[in-house]
């Protein structure tokens, strides 16, 4: 099953490689990994999407907790949460495609953030399946380039991950 693991980690050099090294050394799967400092610059927040059986996910959280730099680990998928991913798509936008591309972007509540005579860059936010759906909805031959941030997530309501 797909799990979203949220981590608070000391914002120190090499902290990221301790986490990625753990995953590769133990053969765990990483679908995506995002990391950035929090409002407290001494801490980074990391979101990892991994796929594995319950036993494997349990081991992953235990092994992560064992890393000295890691302050807290939470499996967001255990309860209600919000997840988002940002995607930038550069598409060919000429002739009749130009209008059509704008329309589809609007339907997906995307924004066009760069315009040239022949291309758009569309910014889209949502969960992973929404972004996938957008890519399916447009003519793939028009896609010039895509980049995605990977998932970040947060628990709903009272569920707070903080030191």
């Amino acid at each position: 099953m797909r799990h979203i693991i949220s981590i608070l980690i000391e914002n120190e050099a090499g902290a990221l490689s301790r986490v990625s090294g753990l995953f590769s050394a133990r053969g765990y799967n990483i679908e995506s990994l995002t990391v950035a400092p929090t409002e407290d610059p001494s801490l980074s927040r990391m979101t990892i999407v991994s796929v594995g059986s319950e036993d494997i996910i349990e081991q992953i959280t235990k092994q992560l907790n064992k890393l000295i730099d890691i302050v807290k680990v939470v499996d967001l998928s255990e309860s209600a949460h919000v997840e988002r991913e940002l995607m930038l798509v550069k598409v060919r936008a000429t002739g009749k495609d130009r209008e059509e591309m704008k329309r589809v972007a609007d339907i997906f509540r995307g924004h066009i953030v760069d315009v040239t005579e022949s291309s758009y860059v569309i910014e889209l936010t949502g969960n992973t399946s929404k972004l996938d759906s957008f890519l399916k909805a447009i003519d793939t031959s028009l896609i010039l380039e895509t980049v995605r941030t990977g998932v970040c997530g947060i628990g709903r309501g009272d569920r707070i991950l903080k030191v």
Binding site: S17, R18, D55, K62
Partner: protein, 569 residues
């Protein structure tokens, strides 16, 4: 007062009451060595290869409850040390490794003797640090000692660039250190312990299985008390030997791939299993699916949550420090006034005695050829069962574990997890520095001993009267055994040709060498080594049966109860 980084290193070690540092100098650590030269509180032990420095520091920890410390230079110093660090990591040995690094401004420029030490060692240390500011040096070393010995112990490495060792700052050594990201659990959950006690008292076919965690946490006394109070059978892993007296009736011997028939059968057939400081690894329970075929309730006590339910599903997990948890179990048992039911326990013991009666460790001994088991039995007799025994890896290691009955913890020093050949001799050096009056035997083979043979020179320099018990069969014995059993007798590259004359070799290093070829000479030679040459290193080269095998054996991937016993049983 302002001190240089190098002075700070020495002061920190003094504050930690470090008496010995095993190491090898080089360019990046010259300032630190200069400070060693100027003091005499800490003794530096110069080894002949960095791997040996780490093994010696590791065994120093294993054989005492002090923390071994080693110091090596950057680049090749570190890469040579990696095998030793990984060895300690796999067996959760507390150790502090100090490494030199090229000056800060050269890091990342492919400087002479530069290696990414923090990167290379990351997967085989509990934690590591690169010190980038001399002001962080003292607190980093404090953290290293704190991390190494608390929680699940392990090696911690501090990488110190050369310029940091020359810079000055005020010295203050913190008394304590706390880290918001590191809070190891000590006390076990009382509710869980209650469940465990209930299960233990209701058991019909109970079994206690313990590992290195009991030794590392100095909980042997508590384990012995609990085991005796319950009257239950107990077995130990290779890493756990000595935590319960091996000469006691309740002890069933080691379990696992080369465990005794009775220990493995009882492990498979028990209905309640108390696992303490052990991790159900592949060499211990064999195939986990086969192990799970017999229904049993498992109580697992360990300080590391990730060791629990990793390979085997556990019914009552108890995360905590072993002695604290054992104390609580004992307290609760005494409070309930409960005793296990006598009748089923007697029937269980009857079954175990039947298994024991096949005498799975018996072997045939003639007049012409020395059997390796016999050498270990005689070693046990001659040393009065009271030696520290280090070993390398292979058949000799298993024979030592099977035939030397360890009654005390921290006496059996071997590389269980990583299985590092070359460990035995440097380990014996470390044991000697931690236990200056001890009798020390290094049980090894002609292949393993050659992996760190250069340390005979260190032993001469520091007058270390280690007795090397070389079980010489001319083969990589365990490899040959597997080739015989699983690869159609094709002995690919397992015969070691062109062996040195070990007697002359020992003499060349300034030691005593004795070659033993007849069974009748085994005991006299051992006595000569341990009595006549008490204060010298003696290299005993026992020419043994070249095709002796280790039995019982659970083949890789097989179930624990699917043992292969000696052919002549």
């Amino acid at each position: 007062m302002q001190l240089t980084g190098a002075e700070i290193v020495i002061r920190c070690l003094q504050e930690e009451k470090v008496e010995h540092v095993f190491g090898y100098p080089g360019g990046s650590v010259l300032f630190i060595y200069d400070e060693f030269f100027k003091q005499d509180q800490i003794k530096h032990i110069l080894v002949r290869h960095e791997q040996a420095a780490v093994h010696a520091a590791d065994a120093y920890s294993r054989s005492s409850n002090k923390i071994g410390v080693c110091l090596v230079t950057s680049g090749p110093g570190v890469t040579n040390a990696v095998t030793g660090i990984a060895t300690a990591y796999m067996d959760s040995i507390p150790m502090v490794v100090l490494t030199g690094q090229v000056p800060t401004q050269y890091i990342g420029q492919d400087a002479f003797q530069e290696a990414d030490t923090v990167g290379i060692t990351r997967p085989c240390v509990k934690h590591n640090f690169l010190v980038k500011d001399v002001k962080d040096l003292a607190v980093t070393i404090k953290k290293a000692f704190y991390l190494a010995k608390t929680g699940r112990p392990g090696p911690v490495l501090v990488d110190i660039p050369k310029d940091i060792t020359a810079q000055k700052c005020d010295f203050h050594y913190p008394k304590t250190v706390s880290m918001r990201s590191y809070n190891p659990v000590v006390k076990g959950h009382t509710g869980q312990i209650k469940k465990a006690v209930q299960l233990l008292l209701e058991a019909k076919r109970p079994m206690i299985y313990t590992g290195g965690g009991v030794i590392l946490s100095d909980a042997a006394d508590k384990l012995t008390k609990l085991t005796r109070q319950l009257g239950y059978p107990i077995t130990q892993t290779l890493m756990g030997l000595g935590a319960y007296p091996a000469t006691d009736k309740q002890f069933l011997g080691m379990l696992g791939m080369h465990g005794t028939y009775e220990a493995n059968m009882a492990m498979q057939e028990c209905d309640v299993l108390l696992a303490v400081g052990a991790r159900f690894d592949d060499r211990v329970i064999g195939n986990p699916d086969h192990f799970a075929r017999n229904p049993r309730k498992i109580i697992h006590v360990d300080i590391d949550p990730s060791s629990i339910s990793k390979r085997v599903r556990v019914d009552v997990p108890i995360v905590g420090n072993v002695p604290d948890v054992l104390d609580e179990i004992l307290k609760q048992i005494e409070a309930t006034d409960g005793k296990p039911e006598a009748k089923p326990l007697a029937a269980w013991w009857k079954q175990i005695e039947e298994w024991r009666s096949i005498n799975c460790l018996k072997y045939k001994m003639g007049k012409d050829v020395i059997q390796p088991q016999y050498v270990i039995e005689k070693l046990y007799e001659v040393t009065g069962g009271d030696a520290f025994v280090t070993s390398d890896v292979g058949q000799h290691q298993m024979f030592a574990a099977q035939y030397y009955k360890f009654d005390k913890p921290r006496r059996w020093i071997n590389s269980g997890g990583l299985g590092t050949m070359g460990f035995g001799l440097p380990a014996a050096m470390g044991v000697r520095f931690a236990n200056p009056k001890a009798q020390i035997a290094c049980v090894t083979g002609e292949a393993s001993i050659q992996m760190c043979i250069q340390e005979l020179s260190t032993c001469k320099q520091f007058r270390l009267p280690v007795k090397i018990i070389n079980l010489n069969n001319g083969y990589l014995g365990m490899v040959r055994q597997w080739q015989q059993m699983f690869h159609g007798n094709r002995y690919a590259e397992s015969y070691v040709d062109a062996l040195p004359d070990f007697v002359k070799l020992a003499e060349a290093y300034g030691h005593v060498g004795i070659k033993v070829e007849k069974p009748a000479d085994v005991e006299p030679a051992l006595r000569e080594a341990f009595v006549k040459h008490k204060n010298e290193l003696v290299f005993l080269d026992f020419i043994i049966n070249p095709e002796a095998n280790v039995f019982p054996m659970v083949a890789a991937g097989k179930g624990l109860s699917e043992m292969i016993l000696a052919e002549d049983l």
